[in-house]
């Protein structure tokens, strides 16, 4: 894998991501109940916790795949869920969403590559259509990223010809091609066969080490979380139970709930 690919982003703000009193309900169920937290630029934060604790919802809210019911979210100092109109906060319109969304990328559990496009076009489509890159520039960027994820020879392949691990690495390249300031990783190895997990995690370790992208990741891979995270947030029932550096949280958790969860996860493995 090649080293110094420029994935620069980020005019620095104090807080890259900020949640203030965020409430999210799905019908009767309240998934997030007044959530406050923030992530600094370039920080790598892992969200852990039992399923249904709201971790994925946080990523989906950031990606604007869901709307908040109450509270506000800011990304790089810009409101994501809302916009400022004449000193008043009103719900964001599509144009505003499109602006803020450009700063965020996401990799999904199910890869979600476009099956009707080859690998190269999966990666170049958005840089060309959204960022307005010239085709050769977008293709060069895509080939560099494919080299980085170890798939330089798969540019012309179709997603259906790739293994799950390869598809997920393409999906990572696709997200990075937009040069996001924030990258959201939603259980990116959960759908993979065990022997394919390591390849994907290695790529992500490389991204974490060689870029200043802010990473927010939901995972059950505790070893990976320990390696790449600056902070780990333990969630339960839509609230943060514990917020600590990985070496602290994984070895000497302060909360009973965290201990129980870690024991359950480690027993399963």
């Amino acid at each position: 894998m090649s080293g110094n690919i420029d994935l620069t982003a980020a005019p620095r703000a104090e807080k890259m991501i900020q949640f203030d009193g965020v409430v999210k309900r799905f019908g009767e169920a309240t998934v997030l109940r007044g959530l406050d937290f923030h992530v600094k630029p370039g920080e790598h934060v892992t969200l852990i916790g039992p399923s249904g604790s709201g971790k994925t919802t946080i990523l989906r809210l950031l990606m604007t795949l869901e709307r908040v019911d109450q509270g506000t979210i800011q990304v790089g100092g810009d409101y994501l869920s809302h916009m400022n109109r004449g000193g008043k906060l009103v719900p964001a319109d599509e144009k505003h969403l499109r602006q803020v969304r450009n700063r965020i990328g996401m990799v999904f559990q199910q890869f979600n590559l476009f099956p009707n496009m080859n690998v190269l076009r999966n990666i170049t489509e958005a840089p060309i259509r959204v960022l307005g890159l010239a085709r050769d520039e977008a293709e060069q960027r895509a080939r560099d990223l494919l080299a980085m994820v170890g798939l330089a020879d798969k540019a012309d392949a179709h997603p259906s010809q790739l293994s799950g691990g390869q598809q997920q690495r393409v999906a990572i390249a696709r997200a990075l091609a937009m040069r996001p300031e924030v990258l959201l990783l939603d259980e990116v190895t959960s759908a993979l066969d065990p022997e394919l997990v390591a390849g994907v995690l290695n790529v992500l370790r490389e991204v974490a080490a060689n870029t200043d992208i802010t990473l927010l990741c939901v995972t059950h891979e505790m070893g990976f979380a320990r390696d790449v995270s600056d902070r780990v947030l333990m969630f339960d029932k839509g609230q943060i139970v514990e917020d600590a550096p990985p070496e602290k949280l994984f070895t000497d958790p302060a909360e009973q709930r965290t201990r129980e969860f870690l024991r359950a996860v480690i027993d399963r493995d």
């Binding site: 990328g105 999904f108 590559l113 959204v130």
Partner: protein, 219 residues
């Protein structure tokens, strides 16, 4: 009198072939209209534009629950009286067939669009692709190939319904056969040939559709 008269069959052949051409034309143009308009109906209904989407829904339901023949009469006899628009009978027929079948094809498109996984929309959103580009690059290229067999089947159905255009004076294959038969008081040759011609058009078409189905199922 022989049951089958070859010289008579040869004699009526040019007229029948001309009718066949009309039938073919009505089917191809009618299908083209149905494919385009059906997609428009499906997209407008899905867009949930207030009033417009409901209006399209109402129109589609109305067309689907009334007979094509009534619609053809309406277009041909009532429209000119109401709006002062007079169209040729073949044009009227193409519009009638096209609009009628568009209400079916719109359902086909809808099913195809619904079958595209939600993750595809979400990936497009995550990449910030504009709405229109998401439709043209991501959703429709996945939705349409899946429904090609169903669309093809509607073209075959339409082919077999073109004789209805006779009611508004289109001299299609059946119209020609009827005219030839009435002129000579011999109906065996005209209608046998007409039937054969339909078979020649629709059988290869249905083989093609079946092949398409097999290909779609493999993907």
């Amino acid at each position: 009198m022989d049951l089958w008269n070859w010289p008579f069959a040869w004699q009526i052949l040019p007229g029948l072939l001309h009718g066949l051409l009309i039938t073919f034309e009505a089917t191809v143009l009618g299908s083209a209209l149905a494919y385009v308009l059906g997609l428009v109906f499906a997209l407008v209904r899905r867009a949930r534009v207030p009033v417009l989407s409901q209006a399209v829904w109402l129109f589609v339901e109305f067309i689907r629950s009334t007979p094509l023949l009534v619609q053809l009469y309406f277009l041909y006899f009532v429209f000119p009286a109401l709006f002062g628009i007079t169209l040729g009978s073949l044009t009227t027929g193409v519009i009638g067939l096209g609009v009628h079948y568009a209400t079916y094809t719109s359902e086909v498109y809808r099913a195809g669009i619904d079958a595209v996984p939600r993750g595809q929309w979400e990936a497009a959103t995550a990449l910030n692709l504009p709405r229109g580009r998401t439709w043209t690059s991501v959703i429709l290229p996945q939705a349409i190939p899946r429904v090609l067999p169903a669309l093809g089947n509607y073209m075959i159905s339409m082919l077999k319904e073109t004789p209805l255009l006779l009611s508004i004076g289109v001299l299609d294959l059946v119209g020609q056969a009827q005219a030839a038969g009435a002129a000579a008081y011999r109906y065996v040759e005209p209608f046998t040939l007409a039937g054969l011609f339909f078979l020649v058009l629709s059988y290869p078409a249905s083989v093609l559709v079946r092949r398409l189905e097999r290909r779609v199922r493999q993907h």
